[in-house]
């Protein structure tokens, strides 16, 4: 039965170490010994860190929280791929049974101008919050809502909206994009709210504002490579970006500004 035949691995890690946002940063090598294949990737780092602490060294800093693939905190590039090689998986859900004994693993932070490194593998992704605060919402004050079933929503649309809304805001799309673009993130929100009747009144305004903020935040532009969607741990589809393009065009044509 899987998950219980814990074999042990010995690995070499090449980890990006950077004291703070001003430090230039460099790679450092560590041995990870006797790692059970049942460990998650982050648990493997825990073990390495525990050893570093007892040796009086500074442990590797990385963001993590729920460790079940939903909070979007863990973001690191593992052997060139955001969250590692497996599709539809966050770093915390990646398990060591996916690695081979003796392997060298290169671990880097998500790299983008809009995601400055705070320390080691920890980056600041608050640019995403700025994008949301510029328009990623429905302007409805508490208390003014009609009965929930007053407006029926076709199941197909609700399902598509839900799928777009499952974005966890981890930033893997930006990390994977050759241009560090946040189009997949932004487009997921545009699709989520745009597909629902509740989002309709602010449809034009939302897309114009959010795109403006995305550009200001220092993300690059999209060149339709689709790398974002391949890296997305929640499998947010590339079609959302195409939809965003259409929404933006529509809004620009109708805009009176």
């Amino acid at each position: 039965m899987g998950g219980t035949n814990g074999k042990k691995l010995n690995l070499k890690l090449k980890v990006w170490r950077q004291k703070n946002s001003k430090d230039a940063g460099h790679f450092e090598e560590y041995d990870a010994k006797d790692i059970s294949t049942d460990c998650s990737f982050l648990e493997m780092l825990d073990i390495v860190n525990n050893k570093l602490i007892l040796e009086g060294k500074d442990p590797i800093a990385f963001d993590h929280d729920c460790r079940e693939g939903i909070c979007g905190s863990c973001g690191m590039t593992i052997n060139g791929n955001p969250h590692g090689a497996d599709r539809g998986t966050t770093a915390c859900q990646l398990h060591m049974r996916r690695f081979n004994d003796g392997e060298t693993i290169v671990i880097e932070p998500f790299r983008a101008k809009a995601f400055p490194v705070l320390k080691d593998l920890t980056v600041d992704r608050s640019a995403f919050d700025k994008i949301i605060q510029s328009g990623g919402f429905v302007s409805v004050n508490t208390g003014s809502a009609p009965d929930a079933n007053a407006q029926l929503v076709p199941k197909e649309k609700a399902d598509l909206a839900f799928h777009a809304a499952t974005c966890i805001g981890c930033g893997a799309c930006v990390a994977a994009c050759a241009n560090s673009s946040a189009m997949l993130f932004t487009s997921a929100k545009i699709s989520h709210l745009g597909l629902l009747p509740q989002g309709e009144p602010e449809r034009d305004r939302r897309v114009l504002k959010m795109m403006e903020t995305m550009e200001e935040a220092g993300f690059g532009n999209c060149s339709n490579t689709g790398a974002c969607s391949l890296a997305c741990p929640k499998d947010i589809q590339f079609e959302n970006i195409a939809n965003l393009n259409a929404e933006f065009l529509r809004a620009s044509i109708r805009s009176r500004d």
Binding site: T77, A176, A246, S252
Partner: protein, 219 residues
């Protein structure tokens, strides 16, 4: 005009200009296939094109679109590069790697820009041979083409550039539709396949000409 300076606006500008040139290269390639059949027809067709006063308008339009495509493309590339000041030690790979032609648009694009100049210098501004059919004097472009394609180095360079055209189109054609908002997954995947087919036809059509000349026509 905010739209035209916006990220998506410029992306859509790439799409529209790219699509315009996609159509142009299709017609260019198709008409040039005449070379496989008949010198006179080839020359008469060329003459009909260049003697039509509307050609100046068309040329101006093509020049403008390609300049917009190139300048915009360069600007976007510079901006996109600056969005990641610190490069990765390793690129995405395996199941998460984007297809290479999409990542290399700027490289084959640059090659194509150089090719374009070279191409114009060779043919449009190249040696002028004249020929007369039914009393009408016109450029003997057929002779020029035959002459040029006898140089194996030239043919090799030309072939390389046509492969680049294929790659550029295989991403560009589909990408343009995505940029313009075609988002239904079924039609997107159809358009993706069609993009490959389109690229293949254009590249094969252009490649057939020097091959024909070099291997068959001249011997």
């Amino acid at each position: 005009m905010k739209y035209i300076t916006s990220a998506i606006g410029r992306k859509q500008l790439m799409a529209v200009t790219g699509l315009a040139w996609s159509l142009f290269v299709l017609s260019h390639m198709a008409a040039n296939l005449l070379i496989l059949f008949d010198a006179e027809a080839y020359n008469k067709y060329s003459h009909a094109l260049i003697s039509n006063p509307a050609i100046y308008l068309a040329e101006a339009g093509l020049l403008l679109t390609i300049l917009a495509h190139i300048v915009n493309g360069i600007r976007l590339t510079i901006e996109n590069r600056s969005a990641r000041p610190q490069k990765y030690a390793m690129p995405t790979n395996g199941e998460k790697a984007a297809r290479f032609q999409s990542k290399w648009m700027v490289y084959h694009g640059t090659l194509l820009a150089i090719f374009l100049v070279w191409h114009l210098l060779t043919f449009k501004f190249g040696t002028v041979y004249m020929v007369t059919y039914n009393g009408v004097e016109m450029r003997d472009l057929h002779r020029l083409v035959l002459e040029v394609f006898q140089d194996p180095m030239y043919v090799a360079g030309y072939l390389l550039c046509m492969v680049a055209v294929g790659f550029h189109l295989s991403h560009g054609f589909y990408s343009a539709f995505a940029s313009l908002g075609l988002s239904h997954p079924r039609y997107m995947s159809l358009m993706n396949k069609f993009g490959y087919l389109y690229a293949l036809i254009i590249a094969a059509g252009f490649i057939s000409q020097p091959i024909y000349v070099y291997c068959i026509a001249v011997r």
